[in-house]
Subunit: 310 residues, 2 copies
């Protein structure tokens, strides 16, 4: 892998599906994950060991995690928020566990009913158990730039939370730009600060297309040296009640951009579209990714033979 | 205006509407244009003096052009492809006329049934008439990077067509990335070549969101020094039969990005959304812009109060 190449962490099976109210069967999830691995993904966030009442869609985490296709070089990740999650996760072959906190105190309180300090206390034993079992841990830091409750987040707070996640043993931190309000200048500023702190090479970025900034932000992060990008098949993770409303940055759009720039992702775009189609069929609503739609023939191809000036 | 600031050329009333099959009344078009001027736009592409059979939606070009709101500092543009167009345009107050050609011979043939040379011959008299009447001329160069028929376009061809448009008297050239397949690396390469040719400061960029690259490409062009960006209210200009399928880069998305970067556009985002809403109501289908949807409350706002990790 050249230092210019990138790794995509496909989060569709977990982050993409978690808010979908339409039940997706375990069979279909496994087929989806298999298709993603076949497309070339080497990192797939497969599920979450959280209470079924919290995320009903992922209530089958134990079964999914025990039936993941074994592929050489593929790392599967699952959220493991606490000791209950550890008990479940250690029975499976999931090789990377993920813990989560946020740069915003208010968001953390509303989201997981814990302060930032409390969230670190809560997942200390997850990190310990992971070390015992030989699993790596990924840390999520949400609201890196903007919080739905607090507004703009002081980037030095974000840097301190990222630093702390690494210091407690996270192999990697995913920088969650949770509400999609961030723009390229802010991304550059934050990445610059993380580089000065010496932790940028341990960070992935996780953008949302709420305001259409996903690819522009990814471009800005790439330029600052980020090489790991979370993305969701077809843009899964948008609001299911607003067709076309976008959630996670779409894997297809990122692959399209990087392909055009000669940056290898290791994922075949056509095969990715085929994987996303499985979920579109399972969910019964259109997925928002522009590239997915264009390649599926529902986007705007060459115009009919009348005047087209631009 | 600081050299870091940008000008948006709002092309919604022409490029956005031209392929819309749902008839929009002249009254509504005027109200739309008025709302755009009120939002702060100083350049609006208002209509096209082409044969009504070619673009039925713009058959009322003469009436629209004669009823444009008079606002200090606002320049209205209209397509004026030939002598018939000139005869109509000179009766109106449209202060900028636009002619169009492409970097791809095949696209030009299919689109306007003329070779590139023939298109230049055809609009020579438009340029002459414009000089006589004291109007400026904008040149469109389509398929700057990719052609639906020829594939990848040699950038030196594009540079030569842009050069030629300027040499025959175009004040500005709009670089049309017609099918939306271009990515930031190609944009940088082309802009670099145009800078070497000494014409980049006379160029605007015109992107499409077919593959979701609009904002990323705009960011790349901005970094290379481009300061004029064509965009369409709400992303008008997508395929009306595929809700959410994107066409022109949306004005709202560009404003959102530039606002976040501290780059002034002179256009008020809320007022822009209000202008786009007029067209959404007139057309009866959702507009694709992410930012438009998010601000209209149909996008993905803060998630409900369950677990949200990224």
């Amino acid at each position: 892998m050249s230092p210019d190449d990138v790794t995509i962490v496909e989060v569709g099976p977990r982050d993409g599906l978690q808010n979908e109210p339409n039940h997706v069967s375990t069979e279909r999830k496994i087929a989806f994950i298999e298709a993603l691995a076949d497309a070339g993904h080497r990192r797939i966030e497969a599920t979450a060991f959280v209470h079924p009442k919290v995320i009903p869609q992922l209530a089958d985490a134990d079964v999914v995690a025990s039936r993941l296709p074994e592929r050489e070089g593929v790392t599967y990740t699952a959220l493991v928020p606490n000791d209950h999650g550890v008990a479940r996760a250690r029975k499976t072959g999931i090789s990377q566990w993920a813990v989560f906190t946020a740069a915003s105190e208010t968001f953390n309180q509303k989201n997981i009913k814990a302060s930032i300090d409390e969230s670190f206390a809560r997942f200390a034993s997850v990190l310990e158990a992971a070390r015992e079992c030989g699993r790596t841990v990924r840390g999520y830091c949400s609201t890196i730039l903007h919080c739905p409750y607090e507004g703009r987040i002081d980037p030095s707070l974000t840097v301190s939370v990222v630093r702390r996640l690494i210091d407690v043993g996270c192999e990697e931190v995913s920088l969650g730009e949770t509400i999609g309000r961030g723009t390229p200048g802010e991304i550059r500023d934050l990445c610059g600060r993380l580089a000065v702190e010496g932790v940028l090479d341990r960070c992935a970025v996780h953008f949302h297309d709420t305001y259409g900034m996903g690819c522009a932000n990814a471009l800005a992060a790439y330029e600052l040296g980020v090489r790991t990008f979370d993305a969701s098949a077809g843009g899964l993770g948008g609001c299911p009640y607003a067709p076309g409303a976008a959630g996670n940055t779409a894997t297809e759009d990122l692959i399209f951009m990087f392909n055009g720039m000669g940056v290898k992702t290791g994922v075949d775009l056509e095969a990715q579209v085929a994987a996303s189609l499985l979920m579109e069929e399972a969910l019964g609503h259109t997925l928002p990714s522009h590239t997915y739609r264009a390649l599926r023939g529902r986007g705007q191809g060459p115009k009919p033979d009348h005047l087209e000036m631009s």
